[in-house]
């Protein structure tokens, strides 16, 4: 019977080991507060950072930095909206504030999440399948979408559209079909400019910018720029700065300057551009190096002067911190303090980092973010003028 006794002992130990770590109820995400900076008081009160989260992970999260306390708070959506099932969603692709509301474009959740800009409390959602980027004009939001008309056809190549959304009712009121897989858009001089990527049609990328008349919401013209366009931004000189991702192999990313008044291409800059931010006359450009893909371009942290259309700074980071940044994914500049923020997506599946540099390019602080920190919007007075 000794064997029995040992066996029972073994079973008991085994069972005890098993049940020491049992299931608990899942608790809503509790925001994590990290003091990083010194309290500051100016018209910019803080910023939201939208983390994309890896596709399928449903881990798009929202972080907030409060200048008045110097505290960075991670993952605020869950506690601000504890009654929303499955939280904010899958792959946050853009964020903007218009009036008192904040709009987060959640790509793989097929919606634009509408929140109170002050509290991040959910106010509703706008259902737009495969939505990408958002801009506003006179009470309407304009959202690009990859989703074309539903047609069953094996040879089908779907064009995307821009949805016109009444921000008062949160309803889509009109659609305008544009090019293939439209991404970034901007509004200037009564026109909407849409950068078409054609990302679903590899290797036959799209190469156009679609111009839409704001008043009629009809396509005015289609301008050829370069393959696989991603962002476009209109400056105060009437130029449109368009970024091309290249083809990841032989054709490198480039920055294009298109004069919207003369309707001609003014300049092509051989700048490795992954993302950018316009502040005053300075276009801050960041990009991941693409060396492993064959296009020989290093990480870039450049400033392009949009008045002279030349590279004004080869590296806006002056203290060597760039060596710590794995995958520069987003850049933003505080319009008042001119602090530069660079988001590092690291390996894309684990948490990223946000680096804050002074206007002199010296690191002030850094903080861990959610997965793939990607989109920043400042809060406060006169920071979100459209």
């Amino acid at each position: 019977m000794t064997a029995l006794r040992y066996t029972l002992l073994y079973i008991t130990v085994f069972a005890a080991a098993l049940f020491t770590s049992c299931r608990n109820d899942d608790i809503i995400f509790i925001p994590e507060e990290v003091p990083v900076g010194r309290p500051e008081f100016n018209t910019v009160t803080g910023f939201y950072l939208l983390n994309e989260g890896n596709m399928g992970s449903n881990k798009s999260t929202l972080d907030y930095y409060d200048y008045s306390t110097g505290v960075y708070t991670r993952n605020i959506y869950g506690s601000a909206n504890p009654d929303v099932p499955k939280e904010m969603g899958d792959v946050g692709n853009d964020i903007a504030i218009y009036g008192s509301r904040m709009y987060a474009v959640i790509n793989c959740s097929n919606k634009v999440e509408v929140m109170d800009a002050a509290t991040a409390r959910r106010m509703g959602q706008i259902d737009i399948p495969n939505c990408r980027f958002i801009r506003f004009w006179k009470g309407y939001a304009y959202v690009t979408s990859y989703a074309g008309p539903v047609v069953i056809d094996p040879e089908y190549r779907q064009k995307g559209f821009v949805a016109k959304v009444d921000t008062a009712t949160m309803q889509v009121v009109d659609r305008c079909i544009v090019g293939f897989q439209p991404d970034g858009l901007d509004i200037a001089d009564g026109k909407i400019y849409v950068a078409n990527s054609g990302g679903y049609m590899v290797p036959n990328y799209e190469n156009t910018v679609t111009v839409i008349d704001l008043s009629t919401f009809k396509v005015l013209e289609t301008v050829q720029v370069a393959i696989n366009l991603e962002y476009c931004i209109a400056d105060r000189y009437g130029n449109l700065w368009v970024s091309s991702r290249g083809d990841y192999y032989d054709i490198p990313p480039r920055l294009y300057c298109y004069d919207t008044r003369k309707r001609r291409m003014e300049k092509v800059l051989d700048v490795n551009v992954g993302n950018y931010w316009l502040d005053g006359d300075s276009l801050y450009v960041i990009a991941v190096d693409n060396r492993e893909t064959g296009a020989e371009m290093p990480d870039s942290y450049q400033i392009v002067n949009i008045a002279t259309r030349e590279v004004a700074s080869e590296c806006f980071i002056t203290d060597g911190t760039e060596a710590r940044i794995h995958k520069p994914y987003a850049v933003a500049v505080n319009p008042v303090t001119k602090e530069i923020f660079v988001a590092d997506a690291r390996n894309y599946v684990n948490p990223g980092y946000l680096y804050c540099f002074g206007r002199d390019g010296v690191l002030k602080w850094s903080v861990r973010t959610g997965d793939i920190p990607a989109h920043i919007v400042f809060t406060g007075q006169s920071v979100n003028e459209y």
């Binding site: 098993l18 969603g89 989703a147």
Partner: protein, 705 residues
């Protein structure tokens, strides 16, 4: 009565139908250290029950234990224990092995792959009747596709099967799983066995199958098996979250959709005994259509992607000893696989991709006996693979693989050693699309990898054995890793795995006590996976990924198994089996990523629990049988940053089943089984955002003629 071979080792096959008309039970071999009771084949017990014959179960105990030819034994699921696991597929059953983690996307049709000792799915070799199942496209075998209907035994080896007489492919993986299809077994005067099984239950499951065995002659028999599986795949799942004080934050219940499956399997086999050897041949066909249920994320509760698979293979084996010094084994196989993936959702990227793979494989293994107890094996395999796709800009790869293995085993007293070296020579020829010039590029990847297995039984009378092994092996980058349009990276190197293992096992049979036998085994191991192939996104936006050799993982683990067979009251057989696995599988890929607690450096890798285990209990009394199975998977993180945001809850399920056998007429019986799975209705996920089914039911009717 006669006893068929119920074990996996091929050696038995030379004697498939051992006649024993005297009524005296003789079993010539038994398998492995495990399960005397289940070994003794259901047929043995049933005979006893049916006839009331007083075959003493002691007769089973006196059986000489077959000296297993492997240096290090396997983990095996077979016979009664396999039937009692309430498992629909091979993947479900394999959860009961120690050291194994399953990736399960849920439901009848969901993809299920296994990972042995945290080295990654692609390091596993899956063999069907002794010949490896291939997938040159992505290297993964969906074990959810293999139903247990026609499976007699599942055997798993860490490192490799340390047998001497085997093909070069048997040496070529970091861990191997052998699926043994059911072989025909005939009671003495019978020529035909026929059975029909119907399974039905939750998820709209209707799963009829039939099997016919026919004894053509004393030395040749045939078997034909067919199975159809239909399920809607619908089940309710529930997500809920609470505030930190325990009050409800949100609670939502929905139905899993697009998890339907429609599958047909037909296979046939021929088995022959020849003088000093045997041959066998098999044809297998599988045709399925299934929905891909997809991840459940905010605002997306249903997906519409579909997949069609058609798999065909024909394979054969011939094995014969030509003298006491030389034996030959020849294997051959042809396989064709077709896969179609459709994303009809035009709000996403419309896709309708078709892939076709062909494989030709031949192998010759030559065993030489140099001295008694000293053997050598020279095995050479050749394999040819192609992948074709209806895709724009698809580069058509052709792969030629030559594997040659040289092995020797030595056995003296209680000491056994088996050393092998495997040479792998891979040549890929890839023709770029016409649009890109139609240029053919050639890539060579060659590797030489060693393995040493040892075991030592210090005392002849005590079945206490110590064992150790070292093995270095790799997995070749797959066609998808290397050449897939846009994500492939042709400069990938093979992903290396190095394993060290130290362990021991103990077995004891008891006479004249309530115990029949006890088995214990424990192994400690240390594995390193280098140059791990990982997908990394390219630049901004998430729809361009590429494969890179950047990962490094170190795994320290302990596997423990225990088995106890007892007979507390005459006729009541109890069999209990426990496994426990501890794994510390750490990510060493990026030493700079250790800034705070979210750092991935030395973090536990994705989905590997530190603690996991299982318990199964089988009780048999006369015509009745009762089974209880329990699985525990401890807390995990869904990536190697081990922070609360990445935390995954532990999960544990209890499954029970009860069955009763009716004798309708002489040699005609009906077995009725009722199963309840996930008895406690736990709402859990194995993979993040892929909810698993709650409590579900199944009824099985099995009719034998």
């Amino acid at each position: 009565m006669s006893i068929g071979a119920t074990f996996v080792g091929d050696a038995v096959f030379a004697l498939p139908w051992i006649k024993n008309k005297s009524g005296k039970v003789k079993i010539f071999y038994t398998l492995s250290l495990c399960l005397i009771a289940s070994l003794a084949a259901p047929r043995l017990y049933s005979q006893e029950v049916e006839t009331g014959d007083s075959i003493s179960l002691d007769a089973v105990k006196v059986v000489a234990r077959r000296p297993y030819s492997e240096v290090i034994p396997s983990q095996t699921l077979d016979g009664r224990r396999l039937e009692g696991l309430n498992s629909q597929s091979v993947a479900d059953a394999m959860r009961y092995f120690s050291g194994v983690q399953i990736k399960d996307y849920g439901g009848v049709g969901g993809v299920k792959t296994i990972d042995m000792r945290s080295m990654g799915t692609n390091h596993m070799g899956i063999f069907y009747d002794g010949i490896q199942l291939g997938n040159a496209q992505n290297g993964q075998i969906d074990l959810g596709k293999f139903s247990l209907d026609n499976i007699e035994a599942i055997t798993m080896y860490n490192g490799q099967k340390s047998d001497i007489f085997q093909s070069a492919k048997d040496y070529g993986s970091a861990g191997t799983v052998y699926l043994q299809s059911r072989r025909p077994q005939f009671d003495d005067d019978r020529r035909i066995n026929f059975n029909v099984t119907m399974r039905a239950g939750s998820f709209g499951l209707a799963n009829p199958s039939a099997r016919l065995d026919y004894k053509i002659s004393e030395n040749v028999s045939a078997t034909l098996s067919a199975e159809y599986t239909y399920a809607t795949g619908r089940y309710r799942f529930r997500y809920r979250k609470v505030f930190s004080d325990g009050t409800l934050a949100w609670d939502t219940t929905a139905t899993r959709r697009n998890g339907d499956i429609n599958a047909l399997r037909v296979e046939g086999g021929l088995y022959g005994s020849i003088y000093r050897g045997y041959w066998q041949a098999r044809v297998y066909y599988y045709d399925s259509e299934r929905g891909i249920p997809g991840a459940i994320v905010n605002n997306v509760w249903k997906n519409s992607q579909r997949q069609w698979d058609r798999n065909f293979f024909a394979q054969g084996r011939y094995r014969r000893s030509f003298s006491s010094r030389y034996a030959l084994q020849v294997n051959a196989k042809y396989a064709r696989d077709y896969m179609r993936y459709l994303n009809p959702d035009t709000t996403l990227m419309y896709l309708d991709n078709k892939f076709r793979q062909d494989e030709v494989y031949v192998s010759a293994a030559n065993k030489f006996t140099i001295l008694p107890g000293w053997h050598a094996n020279l095995a050479v395999d050749y394999q040819w693979n192609t992948l074709d796709a209806e895709l724009a800009n698809f580069s058509r790869p052709v792969r030629h693989t030559i594997l040659s293995a040289l092995a020797t085993s030595f056995h003296r007293g209680g000491f056994k050693v088996n050393a092998s070296v495997l040479g792998t020579f891979v040549t890929d020829r890839v023709k770029s699309p016409e649009a890109q010039g139609g240029v053919t590029r050639v890539y060579h990847r060659d590797k030489l990898t060693p393995a040493v297995f040892m075991s030592w039984q210090p005392w002849k009378q005590r079945e206490l054995t110590f064992r150790a092994y070292y093995k270095r092996i790799f997995r070749m980058p797959t066609f998808n890793d290397l050449y897939y349009t846009d994500i492939g990276n042709a400069s990938l190197r093979p992903e290396m795995a190095t394993q060290w293992n130290l362990g021991g096992s103990f077995h004891r049979d008891f006479d004249a006590t309530v115990f029949s036998s006890v088995d214990l085994s424990a192994d400690a191991y240390y594995n390193i996976v280098d140059d791990k192939i990982i997908a990394v996104p390219k630049g901004n936006g998430q729809y361009r990924w590429m494969m890179m050799n950047i990962g490094r993982v170190k795994i320290r683990g302990v596997d423990v198994t225990a088995n106890l067979a007892m007979e507390p009251v005459a006729g009541l057989m109890l069999n209990g089996h426990l496994t426990y696995t501890f794994q510390r599988a750490q990510d060493y890929s990026d030493p700079s990523d250790c800034l705070d607690e979210a750092g991935t450096y030395k973090g536990q890798i994705a989905y590997i629990p530190r603690h996991s285990g299982s318990a199964t209990l089988n009780a048999t009394w006369r015509r009745a049988e009762l089974n209880y199975s329990f699985i525990y998977v401890g807390e995990r993180y869904h990536n190697s940053s081990n922070i609360p945001a990445n935390y995954e809850q532990p999960w544990y399920t209890s499954d029970i089943s009860a069955s009763w056998r009716f004798t309708l007429r002489r040699k005609m019986s009906l077995r009725v089984t009722a199963e309840v799975n996930n008895l406690l209705d736990q709402q859990y996920e194995v993979i993040q955002n892929y909810p698993m089914p709650g409590r579900n039911y199944k009824i099985i009717l099995k009719f034998d003629i």
